[in-house]
């Protein structure tokens, strides 16, 4: 099967300098590639790659480097073979923080990216109608973000990112602030949407269960400075039923991932769901 390299990081390091001049080495010598995966019929289905690591391991920094919101001190970041020089609509990002534009309605938020690139109103209306349906915000098109709950805010953020059809979607612990129930629902929703859109997703989390449930392939990072310590392929097929979380194979993978995290040097916190 043909593969094409979507994202590639070579020898990427990043150190932050604090206000008092103290240096925090966030990433050291990160190397990885994300390739497009093709289905048996030869259809490009993208890849769902998860970065799992303790808090403060620099996972978010990796996403910010790919998004072009930050620059590496050493090494190079390539997307579709081209150097990342700044942010762009080809790499969408969903943040953990709620970042809806408060002065725009749900519909206005979703169509923001299309509006600034000059898409016709007719086309925008269609996209909004489709996405509102896809993320389950029907009836809230004219509501303001302030009136939405956390889960709804993140659904809006996903819809807004999908509207511009990015090739790569970067997700920085998007469900980190949600309660366990909403989180589970959002994971299922995300998988369903992803199977339709076939984008490459790079998803950052510190929740072991979430990582195993979502990923095609799982990278485990150690804490400060962040390095990749393990590359775990996840064998479960798609579409995935949430019930899979109760299976023995799933729990064994969770335990394996946890063991890798414990072995890794450095300290930090991971979330273990019971």
């Amino acid at each position: 099967m043909p593969t094409r390299i979507k994202i590639s990081l070579r020898g990427v390091s990043r150190t932050f300098v604090g206000r008092q001049g103290e240096r925090v080495e966030a990433l050291r010598d990160i190397n990885f590639k994300v390739e497009d995966v093709y289905s048996d019929e030869g259809r490009d289905v993208g890849e769902f790659r998860v970065l799992l690591g303790p808090s403060g391991c620099g996972k978010s920094t990796i996403l910010r480097l790919i998004a072009g919101l930050d620059r590496p001190d050493a090494g190079e970041v390539l997307v579709n073979g081209k150097h990342v020089t700044g942010p762009g609509a080809d790499r969408g990002m969903v943040f953990q923080k709620y970042t809806s534009f408060p002065w725009l309605t749900v519909g206005g938020n979703i169509e923001y990216g299309l509006r600034i690139r000059g898409t016709t109103p007719e086309k925008r209306r269609q996209t909004v109608a489709h996405l509102v349906e896809a993320v389950g915000l029907v009836g809230f098109e004219n509501a303001y973000p302030d009136a939405l709950s956390g889960g709804m805010q993140q659904r809006l953020a996903i819809a807004r990112t999908l509207a511009v059809r990015p090739e790569v979607i970067l997700m920085d612990e998007p469900f980190g602030a949600l309660d366990a129930q909403t989180r589970g629902g959002m994971q299922t929703l995300l998988l369903r949407i992803w199977e339709e859109t076939a984008s490459t997703i790079l998803f950052v989390t510190h929740d072991v269960e979430e990582a195993v449930y979502l990923a095609d392939r799982l990278f485990i990072l150690s804490a400060r400075p962040g390095t990749i310590v393990e590359d775990v392929p996840i064998p479960f097929g798609r579409p995935r039923d949430p019930a899979i979380k109760q299976s023995k194979a799933f729990q064994e993978l969770e335990e394996y991932a946890l063991a890798c995290l414990r072995r890794a040097p450095g300290s930090g916190q991971v979330r273990v769901s019971i």
């Binding site: 790499r91 990002m93 534009f101 809230f140 990112t161 309660d179 589970g184 959002m186």
Partner: protein, 282 residues
């Protein structure tokens, strides 16, 4: 009575109104008392009834409404000029550090200066007519507004900008976004700006004015008609209060998202696995 001292406890509309009436009743009672028994030295405080009569005279003989309108018009012009310069400049200053470092060393001390002391300079520069009055008011408002704009634009959450960038926003979109995000807070400061305007307009109008509340008060003072002076001062307070109130109404109109109500629950159909009911008392 433990409720009275519960921190940040809400009070009802009726209670609020009652407290406001009580406060004014106290002020007026003290005023009556002070003047009834002649406690204060003569000419320092006129009797309330005389002031009310003077107020009626202001309305009928001295064109109170026309004077208020004239003052308002001067404030409005100064305000528009302040906003037209301070908003774009403040936006640029908060966006480009070098511009901030260039302008702020001059602008910051200006806020602390006694602007009244500049009045003679304005007269010398611009003469005695309208231009001088509006420019003087502009000077009083501008540096305050500039500081507010810089502050509020700087305060806009950086992640909103980053989100816009990842959706394809260019620099001009980002600047517009900063404006949209900060404008409600800047608008809130307009009320204080108007209050500043009403304070300074009196001063500007004491020089060679033929109309305006400042002129009205000054004319009464020259006649030693203290009842009318006090009635004029009260009229200015009322006018400022009225415009403040109109701005509040306009604010609610302009920024409907700021009072969006929270829904009681998540739409249940949306997330197949488990919809969450958001607990919200209000």
């Amino acid at each position: 009575m433990p409720d009275l001292f519960t921190i940040r406890k809400d009070i009802s509309r009726h209670a609020r109104l009652a407290l406001a009436v009580l406060a004014w009743a106290l002020v007026v009672t003290v005023w009556f008392g002070l003047t009834w028994w002649d406690i204060l030295p003569p000419f320092s405080l006129p009797r309330p009834v005389a002031v009310v009569q003077a107020f009626a005279r202001l309305w009928t003989e001295y064109d109170l409404l026309g004077n208020v309108f004239m003052s308002w018009w001067r404030i409005a012009q100064a305000f528009l000029w302040s906003a037209a310069v301070a908003i774009p400049l403040g936006l640029a200053m908060a966006s480009f550090r070098w511009l901030h470092e260039l302008v702020n060393p001059v602008a910051a001390p200006m806020r602390g200066m006694p602007i009244t002391a500049f009045l003679p300079a304005f007269i010398a520069l611009l003469g005695m007519e309208e231009a001088m009055k509006v420019a003087f008011l502009w000077f009083g408002m501008f540096f305050y507004l500039l500081a507010v704009v810089v502050e509020e634009v700087s305060r806009v959450d950086h992640s909103l900008l980053e989100t816009a960038y990842t959706l394809g926003a260019k620099r001009r979109h980002a600047l517009w976004l900063l404006f949209r995000a900060s404008f409600p807070s800047v608008f809130g400061s307009f009320r204080i700006l108007y209050d500043i305007g009403w304070t300074y307009v009196i001063l500007a109008e004491m020089v060679n004015a033929r109309k305006g509340v400042g002129y009205m008060v000054e004319a009464a003072r020259k006649m030693l008609d203290f009842e009318r002076v006090y009635a004029g001062i009260i009229a200015i307070g009322l006018a400022a209060f009225l415009f403040r109130w109109l701005l509040t109404i306009l604010e609610r109109r302009l920024f409907p998202w700021r009072r969006a109500a929270r829904p009681a629950s998540e739409p249940a159909a949306a997330v197949g696995a488990g919809a969450t009911v958001k607990a919200d008392a209000n």
